[in-house]
Symmetry: C2
Subunit: 277 residues, 2 copies
């Protein structure tokens, strides 16, 4: 299927960094002939996968692509349960919650539930980031089989995303060891300047990391002494998700009585220095 393959190669050029593209630009990016690109784009347009701006003649992702892609998260084993759980996390902490999964050698954001302190993190659902540059990625690495981690890290250069991104393999491996010990990972502006994150693993049937449940917040709102408290909340919910995913025993967090039923919004354990105005 060479023709289909080429079409998809063209389609995949519509990245988060370049969401709107023209024929000539795509031709230079892919090395294909302009005329061919034009025909490919037209086919995608006919199917609603791409949309063409009538004024600029440039193309961007269309609604049918969105409809199709949404089926991935709508039918993802974790998603249905995670949606509910994440709302509870937001209610309890006030911060935005996030569910990330591993995709290839990157991290992808699957779900996000906006909190009250931070409505827009800039990073959106469906975006990819390198494993070493995010809390989610580090947590995944921490619980991956050591051989797999070596495969992923050896030879790979740890790209800089912000000044705080971990770029030294030794530092990263120390961080991974600490994550394994504590059961949660943190980031102080390693992915986005000014934003902090806490993340805990969700395990699947075979005890492998399936996803990472995390919180995102402006750094100035959270005292890092509270990180274990936030992690404890996440651990409770990650236990629920892990059990739902077929991993009966969750190794982290106390076995404190979990809130039963569908989130009776109890006294929120908000950890901001300055809570609601």
């Amino acid at each position: 299927m060479k023709s289909l393959s080429k079409g998809l190669r063209v389609l995949m050029e519509f990245t988060a960094d370049a969401p709107v593209l023209g024929v000539t630009e795509l031709a230079s990016r892919t090395g294909l002939a302009k005329g061919q690109i034009s025909k490919i784009l037209n086919t995608f347009r006919q199917h609603g996968v791409l949309a063409q701006d009538q004024a600029t003649r440039r193309y961007s992702v269309g609604s049918r692509a969105f409809a199709l892609g949404s089926r991935f998260v709508n039918y993802h084993p974790l998603a249905r349960e995670a949606l509910v759980v994440m709302r509870q996390v937001v209610e309890q902490t006030g911060h935005s919650a996030r569910l990330s999964i591993m995709d290839g050698d990157q991290v992808m954001y699957l779900l996000q539930s906006e909190g009250i302190f931070l409505a827009d993190t800039g990073w959106r659902v469906g975006m990819f980031l390198p494993l070493h540059a995010t809390t989610a990625g580090k947590v995944i690495l921490a619980f991956l089989p050591p051989l797999r981690v070596d495969e992923l890290l050896d030879g790979a250069t740890l790209v800089t995303i912000t000044p705080n991104t971990i770029t030294d393999p030794a530092t990263l491996r120390r961080d991974l060891a600490e994550i394994r010990r504590k059961g949660f990972g943190i980031s102080k502006g390693e992915t986005t300047a000014g934003l902090g994150t806490v993340g805990v693993p969700v395990f699947g049937r075979d005890g492998h990391v399936t996803a990472v449940l995390g919180l995102v917040f402006p750094l100035h709102l959270v005292d890092w002494a509270d990180a274990p408290a936030l992690a404890a909340i996440l651990h409770e919910h990650a236990r629920t998700l892990s059990q739902g995913a077929g991993c009966p025993v969750y190794p982290f967090g106390g076995s404190a009585p979990r809130p039963t039923g569908t989130s009776p919004p109890q006294a929120p354990v908000r950890s901001g220095r300055r809570a609601r105005a």
Copy 2:
């Protein structure tokens, strides 16, 4: 581009109703030969657009399709602003907020922000529904040019989704007139049994309906006498969105001073009979 076109036709068979499909089933659905379907599916799998379950050998939508599709909403003109606005709506009402757009002759859910009363509505982002069977669709119809409405309604049979779905054209047109008058539409279980919705239009540059901002809630939680109050809240925010989309004057709702800045979480105007447990 016949090959690409066939590939996309196969891809589009992965609907919300049939998110997991096998080769034979796709062959019978599309009328193509099994062997060809197999090769097409393989190509999609190589690109991550589809994923194959190793046990059942069946295919479902993959992560790259999700990543691609998410770019539609991430770069949709309304989405960035709507994300923030919808969080505010949820804070103020406690109910789930939704942003829907028109796509072809259907309604598509673009964004959803979960409330505390109803974490999962069953209908998910990226799903399509007929215009007449949803609040969003009715609001869109109400503010579409009359000629366009005639095109859409004449000859079309109004499909039944629930026992409450409006299936009589005359009844529908009366509802549309009322929506135009009041500035908001409602549904009492017309889309999903037991769920009610309120929706208001968002207008774009040329004054056309761009989207519908709505609330979803379990019917027993809301007194319909409160509907205008909910609509008033939605109107405020829809005004913000319309202005952001280039429509300076929003015709509905009082010009009450809007809450400034990014949602100072004020006293919530919850309208449930039995508020938080």
